[in-house]
């Protein structure tokens, strides 16, 4: 890819990370940052003592598709201008996504790594704040809920102990 460019997609297929990385590769690039957001198998109950939570069977994503594509395209353009990026690719999964699978992947390339790191973090933060995409948690206890804020986990799923290997933060 020799010119500044961006790739935006919403897809029900598993995200092709090699394609994304290859898309942003550029002879003038000194670095590529690839961020992959993956589906977590546990949702921690922040308001309960101890390490308890709910086990996620799968996520289901829905979007206002034309708006989400427009927003992602706008974010890519803004990031390219602000950090003088060479290329940006953003792909968000739609529909059913299993634990460990990628819900989103974004890659940016730039002549120097600092700009690439900063731009990638800014893009994912903007997506989580503004882009018209929603996830529905589908728990192993057979209940589900659409997530409309960080503290909106209200399903009646009985909390169960989270494996000790699961870090509550980070």
């Amino acid at each position: 890819m020799q010119m500044s460019s961006s790739h935006i997609a919403l897809t029900t297929d598993p995200i092709d990370l090699d394609f994304i990385r290859t898309f942003v590769s550029h002879p003038h690039a000194g670095g590529i940052v690839l961020f992959v957001g993956t589906t977590r198998s546990w949702t921690i109950n922040q308001n309960q003592p101890g390490l308890q939570g709910k086990a996620t069977e799968f996520l289901y994503y829905e979007a206002h598709e034309s708006m989400a594509r427009q927003q992602l395209s706008d974010l890519a353009s803004q990031a390219m201008n602000q950090w003088s990026l060479l290329s940006v690719a953003i792909v968000h999964r739609m529909g059913k996504v299993l634990p460990q699978e990628a819900s989103i992947a974004l890659a940016v390339s730039s002549p120097h790594r600092a700009q690439a790191f900063a731009a990638a973090e800014w893009i994912i933060d903007q997506i989580k704040r503004d882009v018209a995409i929603w996830k529905q948690e589908n728990y192993k206890c057979s209940t589900s809920e659409w997530v409309h804020s960080d503290d909106a986990y209200i399903s009646q799923c009985p909390p169960i102990d989270v494996p000790q290997t699961f870090p509550p933060h980070g």
Partner: protein
Amino acid sequence: MMTMTNSGSLGDRELHGGCVIRLFAGAAEAVGMHVITVGGDEVETCSTIGDVAKLLSRKHPNLHGLVQRSRWAVADRFVDLDFAITFPAEVALIPPVSGG
């Protein structure tokens, strides 16, 4: 008159001078529909997005809390509550997002 349809895609729907409200995620689940069409006398009460929000809350009280926390979009862009609607119109309720 407020009619509802199960279609998530507007396709060639004729708006008949009315207002189509698109709903997503928890909002769509709460009313069992992705699209609500407002027509007749009720359109005349809707000159701004804020009016549509009030109408939606009145028609679907179980949506009131979520409507209060949501944003609105027209033509794929966020708009403020005082945005003036031109009919026929298509507007979208954008609840707090959770992608990424």
